[in-house]
Amino acid sequence: MSISKSEEQIEMESVKKVFPSFILFKKTLFNEVGTLPKFIWAIIIMFLLGPLFVIISINPSLIDYSDESIFDTGLGFVYLMLTTSIVFSIIISVSTAPMISFEIREGTMLMLVSKPISRANIFLSKFLAVFTFGFLINLISLSITCLLTYARYPFYDVLPFFLVILVYSLIILVFFECLTMGLSCILRKPRTVLIIPVGFIIFLFLVFLMFKPLLLLGGETNLYEKYHLYIFDLSYHFANAYFLLVDNLLNIEPSLIFVMYNVAEYDDGFGNIVYTNYVSPIFSLILLISIAVLAVSIGYFYFKKRDIS
């Protein structure tokens, strides 16, 4: 007996197994974090703030636009300092932060936990939806930036740079998503969950950076080195992890960005930049991963046991 294609499709649909986790993932991605206006705005902000930062912050005399130094001092700086580290992590935090606590407050979580889906799967579905959202924003905005850059400077191989930033953005994404997701499971008020990571990002990448020079006064006996304060300086570890990628994939000379975050310093004698090597980049990466895992684990176990009403 021959059946038409649509009937065949209908038959296939009816025997497909239903995965509530996937349904929840789809709904979270398309109807919550990844709603089209939010998605487009996030890409536009990511794309525009980079060049804007170049225009207002970088001393044009430092950049020789005729050669590839634009990538080392300009584009790389912008993406690490502002777009990837700050804007991207703020976008992710804002998208992730209210997820669990907001749903508990609004009563939608009560509906979810009453369905035949485990809390682990609820947590995982939401985590993956935010991860996908963040990954897509970065992939699209980075692709546009790199394509435009390649069109302007065709002599430069953009691909390694693209890969470095993409991998680095995943580190940033996972770190801040774990942190905000963990907080979202523990704290009751969505606003508090939002303020903590955003405040943390602003402190880490802006405020602390402004006051850090005070710790560095005194040359070789500066407080930052004397008391090993770099261990607690997460912005240093982020830059050090970035260095790991740059060193392995781009193989470029140390640039201003690394000086700002104390991964490198000016050599007194000749004004060259040399690496500080306080801790190995692998150590920094492991430290960041450990903090992220700890935050998300505490959040997850709290969520698993939490009374939802």
């Binding site: 009816s14 109807n31 009453s114």
Partner: protein, 327 residues
């Protein structure tokens, strides 16, 4: 001590033993549910109590939203809160949280699929429920634009749309206008033809209309659990009040007050009817016809007063309050 092995819990729709819930610890500890036993057979079982009695906490333990501090609970023989158990429960929360950015259609389809209903079937059921609850015209509007009544309809439809074998409804008619309330009650009664329903409410007139059996809870403890008929019967027998209405109530009241088989007799001014509390019921029943004939009166009504669930409930709550004050 809990003796689970002696009971076949699958014989009951809901079965709990010494079910207890504490919130917080130490000095701030609140005993929301205090060692309650429920044995619910099929049909509609009402769960009554004033605000803060522990109804919602009990329900939330049954669906696994909050942890059980002590005791055990089973729904159709499945451990309360387990994934299998949640699959067979259609749950309507007291304040249903709806994803306001979804349309009514998207929401119902989402909930159906979350209950394990396959895509095409979920779409079919969504259409069916939108039609049934008169939401078809608003199906593509976001829920945030719906009125309170429409939201309640969506929430109620979402509780029914899965493959539930038993429904747990927490205050299903709160915030509804009388027409909607009446419709929901009808729906619940229709649903009860082939499914069991555990419904909490403090609107007692509705409970009386819907339920076969009720459990009354206050301050986390069960006060009584029985059929409405039995509760009324017991209460009526215990109170033993007779109502008498004639064309001259004042005259016969004077007559009654002097009799030794009468404990108390008075006129209920709201209804202009005589309330009689007899010491000897048989003597009263013999005397009334004689008195009517002797005084040449017209007998309009003479019957034993049946308390409404509302009266019984209020009285139980008062007794509880008095007991607490004594203690």
């Amino acid at each position: 001590m809990i003796q689970k092995q002696a009971i076949d819990t699958s014989n009951y729709e809901i079965w709990t033993q010494e079910l207890t819930k504490y919130y917080a610890r130490g000095e701030n500890q609140v005993k929301a549910v205090d060692s309650i036993d429920i044995s619910m057979a099929s049909g509609i079982h009402g769960f009554l109590g004033p605000n803060g009695a522990g109804k919602t906490s009990t329900i939330n333990m049954l669906i696994g939203a909050i942890s059980i501090t002590k005791g055990i609970a089973f729904v159709k023989g499945l451990k309360a809160g387990s994934r299998k158990c949640r699959k067979i429960i259609g749950f309507l929360p007291q304040d249903p949280g709806l994803y306001s950015k979804l349309t009514g259609k998207q929401y119902l389809k989402f909930v159906a699929q979350m209950n394990g209903v396959k895509k095409l079937e979920a779409e079919r059921r969504t259409d069916e429920f939108l039609e049934k609850f008169d939401l078809k015209d608003a199906e593509n509007r976001k829920i945030e634009t719906y009125s309170g009544g429409m939201k309640q309809k969506v929430a109620f439809a979402s509780a029914l749309i899965g493959n539930a074998e038993i429904f747990v409804l927490d205050e299903p008619t709160s915030d509804l206008d009388p027409i909607m309330r009446n419709n929901i009650i009808k729906d619940i009664k229709n649903l009860a033809r082939n499914k069991s329903i555990f419904v909490s409410s403090h609107v007692l007139s509705e409970v009386e209309l819907m339920c076969d059996r009720v459990t009354i809870i206050n301050r986390g403890k069960i006060i009584t659990t029985d059929t409405i008929k039995n509760i009324k019967k017991m209460h009526t027998t215990a109170k033993n009040i007779y109502l008498l209405d004639t064309n001259s109530n004042e005259k016969i009241l004077e007559d009654l007050n002097g009799k030794d088989f009468i404990d108390k007799a008075w006129i209920d001014e709201d209804h202009n009817i005589i309330n009689i509390m007899p010491k000897d019921t048989e003597a009263l029943q013999k005397y009334i016809p004689e008195a009517i004939i002797k005084n040449n009166l017209l007998l309009r009504k003479f019957y034993q007063k049946e308390s409404t669930l509302q009266e019984i409930f209020l009285e139980m709550m008062n007794e509880e309050g008095e007991e607490k004050n004594v203690n």
